[in-house]
Assembly symmetry: C2
């Protein structure tokens, strides 16, 4: 288990003073840090067609970007390049464990683990992101500079697929060593350049914008064929100017839309479903043949433990204390009675279940049927 | 010009007591009614590939539906069938004039003109619609029955593409003759069966549902790349159950979405654009070659008159008295200063401009440039 040490700060203080506000370098955030993946293993992942990798190289003033999958890395030499692999937690359970210490932030805000290997001099250039990130230094040494948000900074593309930022004043300028953690809020320019071959682990977050939310809701209404209420205007006044969209009509259009958002059930059902949807392909491996419930009960009674598929998005919502619990797994919604909230918590809070926690799911036929279904979908699996 | 006569009712009374509430048969609504189109002309339209026509036939207990375009109508015999052609106002300016008397309802609520020809015994069967309609009897005689909305009515498909309703109690049961008008609010079951070969003109309306509005807004934000504000949570409390979507976060998601709707400019710009989008292809005929502004000025000074393309959706919105006017034509928005409101009204209120009204557009270079652009797009054209 990775044990995160904020130094003199408590998690509460970090959230109050830094989270979404200021960058922070946490020296020795992970004591005696051991890389969960090697550079070779990362390179191996990047050969796979299903894996999203990119290699960024700086050659004097020129930037080059190659998309994966890759055949080999020989041509890149031994300096000035970085291999970045997205969503390594989807493919590598050991690496996925790096996310766990950050779950003082809810699941729905956490995105995925991006891992980079950079040769000396390697980096993606100064840039800023829309999302929070914790960058963990693994093997090697890397100089990281971070600045505060600055509206005067210009963004430009030194390469069609690279968006970088002009020179910025750094409020953090340090060499990161294994186990150091760098927290960067959205909008803070940052630039990492390796001094030694380095592995960096980016625990990335997500935060929907208004456009994403409206779009997600529109899709949901379409998918579930929810028409909703229709505009109606009994007793409307005669139009003297038929071309006009009058304020009263426009106000009613607005009101209609706001009423939809005011529907508690709809909002909750939609948002959990939306925010738990997979945004990229999971490494789903359905057991062949499917298990029967009795087999699952046997294994769990014997002490088998279950792990959750890396990248699977799970969350739950309980609108009212003692009310129904909506459980969301990979975009699907499972309504549960209030007394099943522990089932929801076990499945969503924990990426791996202990023996005792697993046995919770043998205690009733409903839980057994449910866990069997989840295992047969490849969402949970027996850990060796 | 068709002059609509509500009998003993004023338009104000019709709106207060019937519109969106109760059906109404207006005997002699159009005195001395002359069909703007003949049955043969309608049939001719239905041969055209671009025109949306359907032929519905009842054969004993069986319903048949054929999609246009049609080669001939001989095979249908001389009874028990109806040819329906959508959006005839897009193709036939004389027929389009039938919409004008109904513009005591704003443009944005008006959809299009559907025309049917039915042989004796012909009809589409008892059904209900989501939208208001005025059905005008042209040549012939047709028995129309209309009932009040009734939740106990069942809908079923006697043919995969026909949605009909079970037997209903009629509150209107009459034989319509040329010039009679039948107003039917949404949800009222209705059934028309011809006694003689009949032409019926349906002035159809539209009213968006919540799903349409959210979907339309989502498309707009996408098309114009309007991200909006992003979810942010500085100072959030530590999650004890990371799987949970807590009420505070969900509340903020809702609030973010509602704030977008509360943006007056966004709402107005989006809605006008959305509600003026063409939902089917227009009969656009761009002049070849394009006119120069000077030519247009000459023609209009000489007394040429302009007609607006049938089906072109136009409307305007003025958020504040004395404020900017947003003019919307075919999904595009044209911001105008307040002192140009007459230009907006002329283009949206009137489907044809008189000589004097046309000369309004020669009075300034901006207006002239604008009307030239609209003519060159095929939106307005010189009326012979
Ligand atoms: O690992 C790198 O080189 C880039 C990391 C980064 O910029 C990020 O995670 O936001
Ligand atoms: O003309 C017809 O046969 C059908 C008219 C109708 O049902 C309508 O316009 O809603
Ligand atoms: Co970054
Ligand atoms: Co109808």
């Amino acid at each position: 288990m990775y044990s995160l040490n904020f130094g003199s700060l408590t998690i509460e203080q970090f959230l109050a003073e830094y989270w979404q506000q200021k960058p922070l370098l946490i020296k020795g955030g992970f004591a005696n840090f051991q890389d969960p993946i090697s550079a070779d293993e990362l390179a191996g992942l990047a050969l796979d067609e299903q894996v999203d990798g990119r290699l960024i190289q700086k050659d004097g003033g020129n930037w080059q970007l190659d998309e994966g999958p890759f055949d080999s890395f020989d041509k890149y030499g031994d300096q000035n390049w970085t291999l970045l692999v997205q969503a390594v937690d989807y493919w590598q359970p050991d690496a996925a464990r790096l996310l766990e210490p950050f779950r003082f932030i809810p699941n729905w805000r956490i995105d995925d683990l991006m891992v980079s290997f950079s040769a000396p001099g390697g980096g993606v250039g100064p840039h800023l992101d829309q999302y929070d990130v914790f960058i963990i230094q693994g093997m090697g040494k890397r100089r990281w500079r971070v600045g505060m948000p600055d509206a005067s900074l210009e963004q430009f593309c030194p390469h069609p697929r690279l968006l970088q930022v002009s020179d910025f004043n750094a409020c953090i300028d340090d060499v990161m060593e294994p186990g150091d953690i760098l927290y960067i809020p959205p909008g803070c320019p940052h630039d990492g350049i390796s001094l030694e071959p380095s592995l960096n682990y980016s625990v990335g977050f997500r935060a929907p914008a208004q456009k994403d939310l409206i779009g997600g809701l529109a899709d949901y209404l379409l998918d579930f064929q929810i028409e909703g209420e229709r505009f109606n205007d009994p007793g409307r006044l005669r139009s003297l100017s038929p071309g006009e969209i009058n304020s009263r009509d426009l106000g009613q259009v607005r009101q209609l839309m706001q009423q939809l958002l005011a529907d508690d059930d709809l909002l909750s059902h939609w948002f959990g479903s939306y925010i738990s949807q997979a945004k990229r392909e999971l490494d789903l491996q359905e057991p062949e043949p499917h298990y029967q419930a009795e087999e699952i009960a046997e294994y769990l009674d014997e002490g088998s433990v279950l792990g959750r598929l890396g990248g699977l998005r799970c969350c739950y919502q309980q609108a009212k204390a003692e009310g129904d619990v909506q459980l969301f797994i990979n975009g699907d919604r499972f309504p549960l009675p209030a007394n099943e909230i522990d089932s929801a918590r076990l499945l969503t809070d924990r990426s791996q279940l202990t023996e005792a926690e697993c046995r919770h799911f043998v205690q009733t036929p409903e839980r057994l049927a449910f866990i069997t279904q989840l295992i047969n979908q490849g969402y949970w699996y027996f850990v060796e």
